[in-house]
């Protein structure tokens, strides 16, 4: 089926260490109003709504049901939810638009990492029999991957520090970012990763509007056309994977058509500096590609929204005319277990 679908609007919160003065819906609602306002659409005009979030971040079952209050789902709406990063909610919405059942979609996601001990919360994602009982935290797992990269000669600590510095320097232009400008590279958290190699922990939300064909052209001066989007998962256990590579990213990129022509921009969801090294290799990005001009997840990493934000940031650059062909990537699971790649293009100028 050949239907052109584009990202026509994107909004995000200012990401902060804590948003405790706001409930999830109070945090989310301004972002929803923002994307609707950009397009002039009302909830009732939207053909399909899809969101991504996690009960485990909130510490409450069915936490997404209250977030729905911010949408104004009345009269009732066609709506779905993934217990995944919002990037996958966007994927679900994209397939819905492809079927022709809807012409527009609202996609949102949010995550509050501040209420819980995030490093420990994420251990609950791991094999519940052999691994979760050891409580290996998310930084520890990323550190194992970083050491494997160092051992393989793919990077070293100064190179990782350079990724961190570049990301935070780029984030100075991003008013939503949580960590901006010079940030000390700091002490080891779990060696070889230092505080500077790790993402900030924080709360945030993001929303995107998708539209098909002519509808997209009417809603946005320069739509960010989704030329391809695909996602792939790998085996769960770290001990069976080559942690220095990301075959699922490469395969998703191939299926999304990323290698057909070079991209000028890449927004990579690499919460840890070392993961950017893996992704650059998997995606065959050379130095000519502008990587994470937003500052990436090292500048703001609201879990469950950070992947959708990559797509939103890439799309926004197309909207602004700063990119003609951009790649956006999202990840989920320990050490890049699951990866999504989208390719966005603007109409020729």
């Amino acid at each position: 089926m050949n239907r052109e679908i584009a990202v026509v609007a994107f909004a995000q919160t200012d990401h902060r260490r804590t948003s405790e003065e706001l409930s999830e819906v109070e945090m989310l609602m301004p972002v929803l109003h923002d994307v609707l306002g950009q397009t002039g659409l009302k909830t009732a005009d939207i053909g399909f709504t899809c969101s991504g979030s996690s009960d485990y971040l909130a510490g409450r079952a069915f936490s997404f049901t209250l977030a729905l209050d911010g949408v104004g789902a009345w009269p009732p709406i066609s709506e779905s939810h993934v217990e995944m990063d919002g990037a996958w909610a966007l994927y679900e919405a994209w397939t819905k638009l492809l079927t022709g059942d809807a012409d527009t979609a609202l996609v949102y996601s949010y995550g509050k990492s501040s209420p819980g001990p995030l490093r420990d919360v994420l251990t609950r994602q791991l094999d519940p029999y052999y691994v979760a009982p050891l409580w290996p935290d998310s930084v520890a797992l990323a550190a194992l991957q970083a050491q494997a990269l160092i051992d393989a000669g793919d990077t070293d600590e100064p190179a990782l520090a350079a990724v961190a510095a570049r990301s935070r320097a780029d984030a100075t232009a991003n008013s939503h970012a949580q960590l901006r400008g010079p940030v000390p590279h700091g002490e080891y958290v779990v060696r070889p990763l230092r505080t500077g190699d790790c993402p900030p922990i924080g709360d945030g939300a993001a929303a995107v509007i998708l539209a098909a064909g002519e509808r997209a052209r009417n809603l946005c001066a320069r739509p960010a056309w989704i030329r391809g989007v695909d996602h792939r998962i790998e085996a769960h256990s770290l001990g069976v994977r080559d942690l220095t590579d990301s075959p699922s990213t490469r395969l998703a990129a191939e299926k999304a058509g990323a290698f057909e022509r070079p991209v000028d921009t890449a927004e990579l969801h690499a919460p840890f500096t070392s993961q950017e090294v893996v992704l650059r290799k998997a995606l065959k990005l050379d130095d000519g590609v502008r990587v994470n001009p937003s500052g990436g997840a090292l500048a703001a990493n609201p879990v469950m929204a950070a992947g959708l934000i990559r797509i939103g940031e890439a799309a926004a650059r197309v909207h602004r005319g700063e990119s003609d062909r951009a790649l956006a990537h999202a990840t989920s699971g320990p050490c890049l277990q699951q990866n999504l790649v989208a390719v966005l293009e603007g109409d020729p100028r």
Partner: protein
């Protein structure tokens, strides 16, 4: 531009029980998936993508368990999506999978939903001690019983209707080898003599807590042409949501349910559901929800649903059989319950329902709902493809 027709060519489920102590979580989902593949005579390599659903992660204490289950479901190197829409999730999951085929993104998709309730305790997962909130003043049934009373007040239904539903569903379950509750000595008198837990809901009118999984293989026209057994064709499918609690909400007959059904009927060309649909498998966690949903889904006028139940219309040999499998009242692995409804509808139109097969079941509705009666997902499947 037209949508690719979607066919169900494989269905598998586990024997649902209170606790599957012999398998891991992976072992449980694997069993259903394997049976669905066997039914379709396909291998793991034939599957292009996996779409999995379940209710809250706290039930098993595994956050986003699809990450750990990727290997067991043959998803390595493939796309894997995880849906969570509360109690309706089993149905929503199937619809998300169906969209992948309808959009021609993938040719053949495995979809699966599960719950291994015995890993924890459903009431624990549903009532975490959130500070400042008023504690729940009643158990699970207490949440639903006031709505049942409201329905009785509105419709004037006699208070025996709930027991008729329970008696029927438990007898239907005896014909379904996968059903959790097999009460061989069930009688109407026993149902009516069971303790009144949350008046007006009796013990025998409530659902059990089960370990179980359900899987389906969905495919396109080309896949259906290769299928070894008759496929079920999706004729319509929709999801609708409304807020949890709001001023003007009709908890007895939610607007989202009506709109969802209307959308499905429109897609499937159903003018009169009572006449055009042969059987219904609906999500009835407490027996009184059968007459309530009969009205909500347009099979009876408002206030009249109980008359169909009372007249025996919804019996297995009735004019509009409801919950041929024994329903949620007999089997309730929460995350899978919606998909079991969808799968039963497909089994019926494929003629594969065994002892609980309805004769001449050509169009059957599968229905799921969840949250505060706010999330609905439904599909209508038929024995003939949509353009036939």
């Amino acid at each position: 531009m037209s949508k690719e027709p979607v066919a169900v060519v494989g269905i598998g489920q586990t024997k649902h029980v209170a606790a599957r102590r012999d398998v891991s979580i992976a072992g449980l989902v694997r069993e259903a998936a394997r049976r669905a593949l066997d039914d379709a005579e396909l291998t793991w390599a034939d599957i292009d993508a996996v779409v999995i659903g379940k209710a809250p992660d706290f039930f098993e204490g595994v956050m986003m368990p699809e990450l750990y289950l990727a290997d067991a479901l043959g998803a390595v190197g493939k796309p894997m999506l995880r849906v969570h829409t509360a109690g309706s999730v089993g149905g929503s999951t199937a619809l998300v999978a169906a969209n992948l085929v309808a959009a021609s993104v993938h040719g053949t998709v495995l979809t699966l939903a599960f719950e291994k309730q015995s890993e924890s305790n459903a009431m624990w997962g549903l009532s975490l001690p959130i500070p400042f909130q008023q504690p729940l003043l009643a158990g699970a049934g207490g949440f639903f019983a006031p709505h049942v009373r409201a329905y009785m007040r509105r419709s004037g239904a006699p208070d025996t209707v709930g027991s008729l539903v329970a008696y029927k569903d438990r007898r239907n379950a005896l014909k379904n080898p996968y059903a959790h509750l097999h009460e061989h000595d069930i009688t109407l008198e026993k149902v009516q003599a069971s303790p009144m837990l949350w008046d007006p809901i009796r013990y025998s009118e409530t659902c059990p807590s089960s370990d179980g999984a359900c899987a389906m293989v969905l495919t396109d026209r080309a896949g259906a042409a290769r299928a070894p057994r008759p496929p079920a064709w999706m004729l319509g499918g929709a999801m609708r949501s409304e807020p949890t609690l709001f001023a003007g909400k009709d908890a007895v007959s939610p607007q989202a349910g009506k709109d969802c059904a209307a959308d499905v009927y429109r897609q499937a060309g159903i003018a009169d559901p009572r006449r055009d649909i042969d059987a219904v498998e609906m999500y009835v966690p407490f027996s009184w929800y059968e007459p309530m949903w009969l009205e909500n889904l347009g099979f009876a006028a408002e206030g009249e649903g109980w008359k169909l139940t009372e007249a025996g219309v919804t019996e297995l040999d009735g004019d509009l059989p409801v919950n041929m499998s024994g329903g949620v009242l007999s089997t309730n692995p929460i995350g899978a319950s919606g998909m079991i409804r969808f799968a039963e509808a497909a089994l019926q139109v494929r003629g594969q329902a065994g002892e609980h097969q309805v004769e001449r079941a050509r169009k059957v509705l599968g229905h799921a709902y969840g949250g505060g009666s706010q999330f609905f997902s439904m599909w209508l499947v038929g024995s003939a493809p949509p353009d036939a």
